[in-house]
């Protein structure tokens, strides 16, 4: 029996190739192009070599200082998000029902925040946290807590972190839940027979079996939080002062606010490289551990 086989099927891939070229390759090349040039407007560009990069990576310069401040801020933000979302996600996943009608209900409820667009999330929290009309802001005020994300740096941080946790913990929960569901019943039965309590079961079975999905969860959440822009921009606009000016926000300020295309381009390349490097290191170390284990 002959199966239809046609090499012209490769042409079907062409639109995707064109799309990737158009959406990724060409813009990237443009950015690289800008990063080695300077402009005084009027569409006149001058060769500038690696000057932007040198300035950027030197903390004593204006640009460099600003860059490193934003970088530490962003790293702190990502760290806080991971530190809260991963354990919280695991904890929630562990308490979800394993069967019955509750499964569908909890999964739908959990998926809801994931379906809301970024700017809407920002707007929701901006209103939610307002001292005059927002439920959170007014509630805290009523409790006597002087909460104001527009003026107090700590409050601003708390708000953007809480917002990210609210928006994205569900993703971690769903991933962990999938990992937990994949554990065969025999493991739980064996643990019961071995007299293991909930904590021992978690340490000996659930956590090791979730390792793969947790790798993915950490990776996704790191990349997303490290690149966060819309939500904090809508809520705090990077303020008060520069308290919540993350790399992405700073980048837009330089590029669009000051129209320093060369600096912004250099910065975005470095920004990109940082993300790639961190992800690669993370991925390489965790997968190497796993492939060693598999042998």
């Amino acid at each position: 029996m002959a199966k239809p086989h046609n090499d012209r099927a490769w042409f079907l891939v062409l639109p995707v190739v064109a799309l990737v070229a158009f959406s990724a390759l060409i813009p990237v090349m443009t950015v690289v192009n800008y990063s080695v040039q300077d402009t005084f407007g009027n569409n006149q560009f001058f060769w500038n070599g690696t000057a932007w990069f040198q300035e950027l990576l030197d903390p004593s310069t204006d640009l460099g200082g600003r860059f490193f401040d934003a970088l530490w801020r962003t790293l702190l933000f990502s760290g806080l998000c991971l530190l809260i979302e991963i354990p919280l996600g695991i904890a929630v996943a562990l308490t979800l029902p394993r069967q019955g009608w509750g499964v569908a209900v909890s999964l739908v409820v959990l998926a809801l925040p994931l379906l809301i667009p970024w700017n809407v999330v920002g707007t929701i929290w901006q209103v939610f946290g307002r001292g005059d009309i927002g439920l959170l802001g007014a509630g805290l005020q009523a409790l006597g807590i002087n909460y104001n994300y527009a003026q107090n740096a700590f409050d601003a941080w708390a708000t953007v972190v809480a917002m990210d946790v609210w928006h994205w913990t569900s993703l971690v929960v769903l991933l962990c839940y999938a990992g937990l569901r994949a554990i065969p019943d025999a493991y739980y039965q064996a643990a019961k027979i071995d007299g293991a309590g909930a904590w021992a079961i978690f340490r000996a079975i659930q956590l090791p079996k979730m390792q793969r999905v947790l790798t993915i969860a950490v990776l996704l959440r790191f990349m997303d939080s490290f690149m966060i822009y819309t939500e904090p921009f809508v809520v705090t606009g990077g303020g008060p002062g520069n308290a919540t000016t993350f790399l992405s926000i700073d980048l837009v300020k330089i590029a669009l606010g000051q129209f320093d295309l060369g600096k912004a381009a250099a910065m975005s390349i470095v920004y990109n490289l940082i993300i790639l490097t961190v992800c690669w290191i993370f991925f390489a170390t965790t997968t190497r551990g796993q492939s060693e284990a598999a042998q």
Binding site: M1, A2, K3, H5
Partner: protein, 359 residues
């Protein structure tokens, strides 16, 4: 239909996964690949299917070179150890699936599916879903789907491993009839020597990525070309004893002389192999008595597998009747020189005694 492998081999990352194999596969009788897990059976099947490209050698189908041909251009069918069916389809639709892909006519599909179902005794279940069937019926559905394509090459990777013992027995009896009726070439991988014998076709034994021997199952079983083959093709495991040839005479390392004709063999170390059913716990004429200590005895109802330590050697004797000697009890194992296999220092079969070849 015939398939020929000419020095087909696979290396990956500087390691040999499968040593070059030269083998003729023909229709009518099954071609069994026998070997333990990790011996290279699945690798060989994947090469035959075209899922992997060999790093050397050629694969010929009807004399035509198909080595580099993409799997989609070949016509092969595969049956896996896991029962793979479409859960949402009825048994009929499951069997018909490859024919629908090939856009055959309604009447043709109906006729072919009914044919395959009759052959595999699935006719009463055609309207059911796979999950409503027993494991044996599910696997028969998967086999029917492989047959209905009338692919010239059907590859089966331990198809009965996940079935109940009795069902396995039943299918082992049915499958050879199926193989004989169909014109296709069947390649059947298994870890079980008994299965290789029962299917009654040709067998290729694999050990550590190497095809060690091929031939009619009964012949390979009785005349294993080397020690590796004898080990793979023994269940219970082959009993082995180190021995020496000096001046044309064979003696066990423990000193007992074994009057086995070893003419033409060089002096030096060798290995004597003997299968469990060829040993005896009763005196046999001409047999050598070896002192042993009983470890444990397993009774099957009509026979007993008595595990003993013959000096440092762990041996198994299959004795008729029910025997329950106490562990630690002394016993005598009678080794008939007429039933031994002798392997030279290089592992090759050096001598096979007259009765070792008898059933």
């Amino acid at each position: 239909m015939s398939v020929a492998l000419e020095g087909l081999g696979l290396s990956a990352a500087g390691q040999v996964v499968l040593h070059p194999v030269t083998l003729e596969l023909a229709g009518g009788l099954p071609n069994v690949l026998l070997g333990p897990t990790g011996a290279g059976k699945t690798t060989l099947l994947r090469l035959l299917a075209g899922l992997d490209r060999p790093s050397e050698g050629r694969l010929l189908a009807e004399g035509r070179d198909v080595t580099g041909l993409d799997v989609r251009k070949r016509s092969v069918a595969m049956v896996y150890q896991q029962f793979i069916n479409y859960p949402a389809f009825t048994v009929f639709e499951n069997i018909a699936a490859p024919l629908r892909v090939a856009r055959l006519g309604r009447a043709e599909i109906e006729a072919r599916v009914q044919d395959a179902a009759r052959l595999l005794r699935l006719t009463p279940y055609l309207a059911r879903k796979p999950l409503e069937l027993s494991g044996g019926q599910q696997q028969r559905t998967a086999i029917a789907r492989a047959l209905v394509k009338r692919a010239p090459l059907v590859l089966m990777d331990e198809p009965l491993a996940n079935l109940d013992y009795k069902l396995r027995e039943e299918l082992r009896e049915e499958l050879p009839k199926l193989f004989a009726e169909s014109g296709s070439v069947f390649v059947y991988a298994t870890t079980e020597p008994a299965e290789a014998l029962l299917l009654g076709g040709r067998v290729a034994t694999l050990s550590e990525g190497r095809v060690t021997q091929s031939g009619r199952a009964g012949e390979v079983f009785r005349r294993p070309a080397d020690l590796a083959t004898a080990r793979v093709f023994s269940d219970p495991p082959l009993n082995e004893a180190p021995a020496r040839i000096e001046a044309g005479r064979l003696a066990l390392a423990t000193g007992e002389a074994l009057p086995v004709p070893v003419g033409g063999l060089q002096d030096g170390p060798c290995t004597v192999g003997i299968r469990a059913h060829q040993l005896s716990l009763e005196p046999l004429p001409g047999a050598v008595a070896l002192p042993a200590v009983v470890r444990v005895s397993e009774v099957t109802g009509s026979e007993s597998y008595v595990h003993l330590d013959v000096g440092p050697l762990p041996w198994v004797v299959l004795a008729p009747g029910v025997r329950r000697p106490e562990p630690g009890e002394a016993a005598t194992v009678w080794l008939d020189p007429q039933r031994c296999l002798v392997f030279g220092a290089d592992g090759r079969l050096a001598a096979v005694s007259a009765l070792a070849e008898a059933a």
